[in-house]
């Protein structure tokens, strides 16, 4: 009996050991692969800022390139800089639910592989960028949407609430029913900024306007940023409840919001990029405007400043004044209220209106 148990234990152990061994054997012949030797390749791009051919590292959050939203905006900025300055890019992406140590390791691999500058996309990289930037003081880091401090960290921050204020005003001006909706992707502080700005803008136009709010998922379930079916259901509920303009800050789920608006002949507002240009052709005509969050511009500006040797550490705030957030006019559907919106815009830029962040 005892013997049996021992042999069982031993065998189960052997299983794992062999699995490991098998993996090890497979690589026996090719262990001398051309992986970037830590430090070795760095000689091609030492402390100097990026020049032509410099290796640029980009670390995405979950989703990576192709998410039709936030990450793609960063990718667009990278692409533009790559073609202009002749950079050599490397893009890595995060896995779902990974630990901070894995993000840290991703940045460290880039830094030790000679990539400089390195851009981290998303607040989840906050801690990792802080740590790795200290280990590699000669490498320039940038992080989008986070204010972690460091002598070699540039923070690319956005005033999402200001842009959202303007589309909130547009929604209130365009609504006939006096009832509008906000669909947020995931219930996190970042999206709360969109909601706060939207509500403030709408109330500035019409103090008693009815605003319906719905978040698609709760963290750590981030599927609310990529599930059009959820977006559609939420928007349909709002439209059934009387809303005739719905603003979505829900990444990929926004496509469903547009579909719901199209089906019910109501209006919708896009987010991040100019969605009257990028959305599916069938639903473009329901999008009256989009809140532009120009992550691409921020990424491009950063790479340009590195290229020109003028990079500065610390926060750069992309607000209305800096043109980092804005509303779009593609399709001409807000031409009639453009003067009013521009008036609000000027008041925010002048500091006459302070938009709440939550």
């Amino acid at each position: 009996m005892l013997r049996n148990r021992v042999s069982k234990l031993a065998v189960t152990g052997v299983t794992g050991a062999l699995l490991m061994a098998a993996a090890a054997c497979g690589g026996g012949g090719t262990t001398a692969t051309e992986s970037p030797a830590p430090g070795g390749a760095a000689s091609s791009a030492p402390a100097e800022p990026a020049k032509s051919g410099a290796k640029v590292g980009l670390a995405y959050d979950i989703g990576g390139r192709g998410d039709q939203s936030f990450n793609d905006a960063a990718a667009a900025g990278l692409d533009k800089a790559v073609s202009e300055f002749g950079l050599e890019p490397k893009e890595l992406e995060a896995a779902n639910g990974e630990t901070e140590a894995q993000k840290e390791e991703r940045l460290r691999l880039l830094a030790s592989g000679g990539f400089n500058p390195i851009i981290a996309v998303g607040f989840a990289y906050s801690g990792p960028v802080g740590k790795v930037a200290k280990e590699f003081p000669d490498v320039k880091f940038a992080i989008v949407d986070d204010a972690v401090e460091g002598a070699n960290i540039s923070n690319l921050l956005f005033a999402e609430e200001q842009g959202s204020f303007l589309v909130g005003a547009a929604a209130a001006l365009k609504s006939k029913s006096g009832n509008i909706g906000f669909v947020g992707g995931v219930d996190v502080p970042l999206i709360h900024k969109f909601q706060a700005g939207f509500e403030a803008g709408a109330k500035a136009v019409k103090a008693d306007i009815k605003i319906q709010t719905k978040y698609l998922t709760q963290p750590p379930d981030f599927s609310g940023f990529g599930d059009p079916a959820k977006g559609k259901t939420a928007a349909e509920g709002m439209i059934d409840g009387g809303a005739d303009v719905v603003y979505q800050a829900a990444g990929g789920s926004g496509a469903g919001v547009f579909e719901a608006a199209k089906a019910s002949n109501t209006l919708a507002i896009g987010v991040d990029s100019d969605q009257a240009l990028t959305a599916d052709a069938a639903v473009k005509d329901v999008i009256i405007t989009s809140m532009l969050k120009k992550v691409d511009v921020a990424v491009y500006d950063f790479l340009k400043s590195v290229d020109g040797g003028t990079v500065k550490a610390g926060p750069t705030i992309y607000d209305l004044k800096a043109g980092g957030v804005d509303y779009s006019v593609t399709g001409g559907k807000v031409d009639d209220i453009k003067s009013k919106l521009d008036e609000y815009k000027q008041q925010i830029i002048d500091g006459k209106i302070t938009v709440p962040q939550k």
Partner: protein, 384 residues
């Protein structure tokens, strides 16, 4: 031969969960077949996706054997190990605790909130309190499913999945509205950080790197030993395994199955509550939006891979940790990191298939032996 074998039902489930041991050369053949199969399929997948198989694995091994990567692997494996133990505890009793994920996240936020609450206690006492809070929270959350199953006949699979959803919402509510403090200038939000003296320092296990292994790896090891002792050396463990193998037989021998169901769920949930502790007390010090999630589900795969045996699970967890930590280096070499998930899936499938094939062979061999013995004339007299 085995104390429970008379009551053992030779069902697919019992074989799948490793409750029926293989003996002799079959015990060696099964893992060998699994490895061969996993290796071949992985190589095919790599080749089809345009990556040279040998070179790819070479990259992974080279990276995986660097000291820093080994630390990263061990730290991930620590979390995975505890998760798989929690799952395995249920499996051994035929309870499918799919809710490990929800249990550990709820436990982690409660523990983190206590840790950051500013209680003025000595560090060691805080650490104990934090760990106990986590275990109790996980146990209470799992007990709901246990009670529902014992007294209302609700399938624990359904109830734990539902409890995961509810848990997610509760955690989000607690994080955003109750415990959360916004990190200045950031879009993150987390519980107040745990004070320095209530953190568990890392251990410099592996030479050649500054990175440290979670101090609570010893908690994981202790849990593994406890798991083995509880199941194999105690009356309770015997009852638990008997109930899992053959409920009717257990009832006949006087086991209170209802109480066993609740106790097993509570134990499983208590262990699940501890999953986040190495991470919380050794690295994060706060429960925030980017606290790792989904480890409970990883635990299910690893429990299957390790065949619900504490040592098998340890190897499974380390293998998993290695694969997960190597996805970064693959990404750097322009190999899609998703290949790692495919490998993990193939490995689990291979192990399941190989062991089932070995069992089928064992059964048919036994049948042949029996029929041979029955057919053969009694030669040596009634020696038995």
């Amino acid at each position: 031969m085995n104390q429970t074998s008379p009551a053992t039902k030779d069902s697919f489930l019992n074989r799948l969960l490793g409750r029926i041991p293989l003996s002799g050369w079959l015990a060696l053949a099964a893992p060998v077949v699994a490895i061969l199969f996993a290796g071949i399929v992985t190589a095919i997948v790599l080749a089809v996706t345009g990556n040279p198989p040998l070179e790819t694995i070479g990259i992974m091994v080279e990276y995986g054997t660097q000291p820093r990567t080994m630390v990263l692997t061990l730290n991930l494996a620590t979390l995975y190990y505890i998760a798989a133990l929690a799952v395995a505890l249920g499996f051994r009793m035929n309870l499918f605790n799919i809710g490990v994920d929800g249990q550990y996240r709820l436990a982690a936020i409660m523990a983190a909130a206590l840790g950051g609450s500013g209680l003025n206690l000595p560090g060691w006492l805080m650490i104990i309190l934090i760990i106990v809070t986590a275990a109790v929270t996980g146990a209470v959350w799992a007990a709901i499913a246990g009670l529902l199953k014992a007294y209302r006949g609700v399938s624990e699979v359904v109830s734990t999945i539902m409890l995961n959803y509810i848990g997610t919402s509760v955690v989000a509510y607690l994080l955003v509205n109750v415990f959360g403090v916004a990190v200045a200038g950031s879009n993150n939000i987390g519980t107040a950080p745990i004070p320095e003296d209530a953190r568990v320092p890392g251990v410099a296990f592996i030479p050649g790197t500054e990175a440290k292994v979670f101090g609570l790896i010893f908690l994981a090891i202790a849990l593994g030993i406890g798991f083995h002792v509880l199941l194999n050396k105690t009356r309770f463990g015997f009852d638990l395994r008997t109930t899992g193998l053959n409920q009717e037989a257990a009832v006949a021998s006087g086991v209170n199955v209802k109480r066993m169901v609740v106790t097993a769920m509570v134990l499983s949930g208590g262990v699940a509550g501890l999953i986040g502790m190495p991470q919380l007390l050794g690295a994060s010090y706060s429960y925030s939006l980017d606290f790792p999630s989904g480890i409970g589900f990883t635990g299910i795969a690893i429990a299957l891979l390790g065949r619900n045996n504490p040592i098998g699970i340890a190897f499974g967890a380390i293998l998993w940790g290695f694969l997960d930590s190597s996805s970064n280096i693959l990404n750097l070499h322009d190999i899609s990191p998703e290949i790692v998930q495919i490998m993990q899936g193939i490995i689990v499938l291979s192990v399941v298939v190989a062991y089932e094939l070995a069992h089928r062979y064992r059964i048919s061999a036994e049948q042949r032996r029996v029929s041979r013995e029955l057919a053969a004339p009694v030669k040596e007299g009634a020696s038995a």
